[in-house]
């Protein structure tokens, strides 16, 4: 029997551009053409002003650690505890859930507001996940 795998996202028509982006090594967000609101998760209209005129753009991939837990039990399939489940605040404004790699999964190493940068982890031929690591320099 194969090892249990991490939950695999299944894109929808409204989110496909995001998952195409991670595969291409880009973190893609959306900005409202009418009011300039930047938002996440993806949808083809602005949740601030309801305009349907919105654009996809490549985000900087930079952010900071907003909050997290270090999960000990029960562990999700495909994860070895303890592992941090983090919420990253992107420089562009929106927040997203992710994991922090290249960093000990400890309260001492995971300092709130530490600078992070996106790192892409290929799950399979169709899905690449946006993870984050401590920013260099």
């Amino acid at each position: 029997m194969a090892e249990p795998a991490r939950a695999r996202p299944k894109p929808t028509p409204e989110t496909q551009h995001f998952w195409d982006g991670t595969q291409a090594g880009e973190l893609r967000l959306q900005r409202c053409d009418a009011c300039a609101n930047v938002y996440f998760p993806p949808r083809p209209f602005c949740p601030s002003c309801a305009s349907r005129k919105v654009s996809v753009f490549k985000a900087s991939g930079k952010g900071k650690l907003y909050s997290y837990v270090i999960n000990h039990r029960p562990a999700a399939p495909g994860f070895t505890p303890p592992y941090a489940i983090a919420v990253v605040e992107l420089d562009e404004g929106p927040r997203m859930m992710s994991n922090i790699i290249d960093c000990p999964q400890t309260p001492e190493a995971l300092e709130l507001d530490m600078k992070l940068e996106v790192a892409f982890e290929k799950l399979d031929d169709k899905i690449t996940l946006p993870l984050f690591r401590p920013a260099k320099g």
Binding site: A76, I85, A86
Partner: protein, 379 residues
Amino acid sequence: MRRNQVAVVGAAETTELGVIPNMSQIQLHADAALNAIADAGLKLSDIDGIATAVETPQQIAHYLGITPTWVDGTSVGGCSFMLHVRHAAAAIEAGLCKTVLITHAESGKSMIGKLPRSTPADSLNGQFEAPFGVYGPPSMFPIPVLRYMKTYGITHEQIAMVAVAQREWAAKNPRAMMKDPITVADVLNSRMIAYPFRLLQCCLVTDGGGALILTSADRAKDFPKKPVYILGTGESVETPMVSQMETFNSSRAFKVAGPTAFKEAGITHKDVDHLMIYDAFAHLPLFGLGDLGFMPHEETGKFIADGNTRPGGKLPLNTNGGGLSYMHSGMYGMYALQESVRQMRGIAPAQVKDAKISVCHGVGGMFAASGTIIFTNEK
């Protein structure tokens, strides 16, 4: 909605709480419903409105043998029953029905006749949270805690005191699951679940249920038990994704539901004799005290650590022991409502002397939804 026009005239929990391996989930609903109907001195045929969550109203109506003229299947997590009370009060006032039965039950521990919860891979949660290792409420609900602590200067010891104070209340309650006294050190040394939270800061997992019966205040005086009036109500929702909350320093759903209920009730915080804040995890009473306007968030940790919410304190909070020590079948809001009703009837195991106003505040999902009900025993 007008104050005190609708009252709770029947309230009961399942005959047993805890581990109930001899009943399916719908039978737990029925057990609670039949107990509440007996408490109100009614017959099943007197019920013309029904509300429930997770299980559908048609499931429960059919199983009990009820033909309703009003139905509410609002299912927004553990505070669904607060919303049911609010909706039922409006429906009774509007003349849509006369006598409403609200049921909750969950075979949360034994898992008999209960659908497993699942997250579709193409839902927003499935795409943008599940892949990062969230796995059940303990891995999600505490995610805002570290930010809240940093923003307001709250300590681990202060949050641990939530569990300690509630265990003191539970010790007075024969039906509470956990009654042995605990210390802050016990809490901070218990098994790590999801840092910063340990086992004693997470709710229990049990079987059980509860039911309420509401009718108009005019009819309520003819019932065998002392009526408990609905003084004020509020509700809201924010997001099913904890990562997408507007801020981790507050709950937007709390900040809408709570103040709406206070405004409707026409009371101030000084008028509150008894308070229930749904405590799926130990940080919720802090968020609740701040967002309901009892005090600035900066003071919530100290307020609890100083003993103000424990037995003998000036603001008795979660007097049944709460989800941390009383019971938690999955959607605890119903048990918070039951405790408020007991306090207003004057029959709670840890009765707050002369309590006249009780505020009962619920959460659904991971801060996804909220409902607040303010009760009084004086018309």
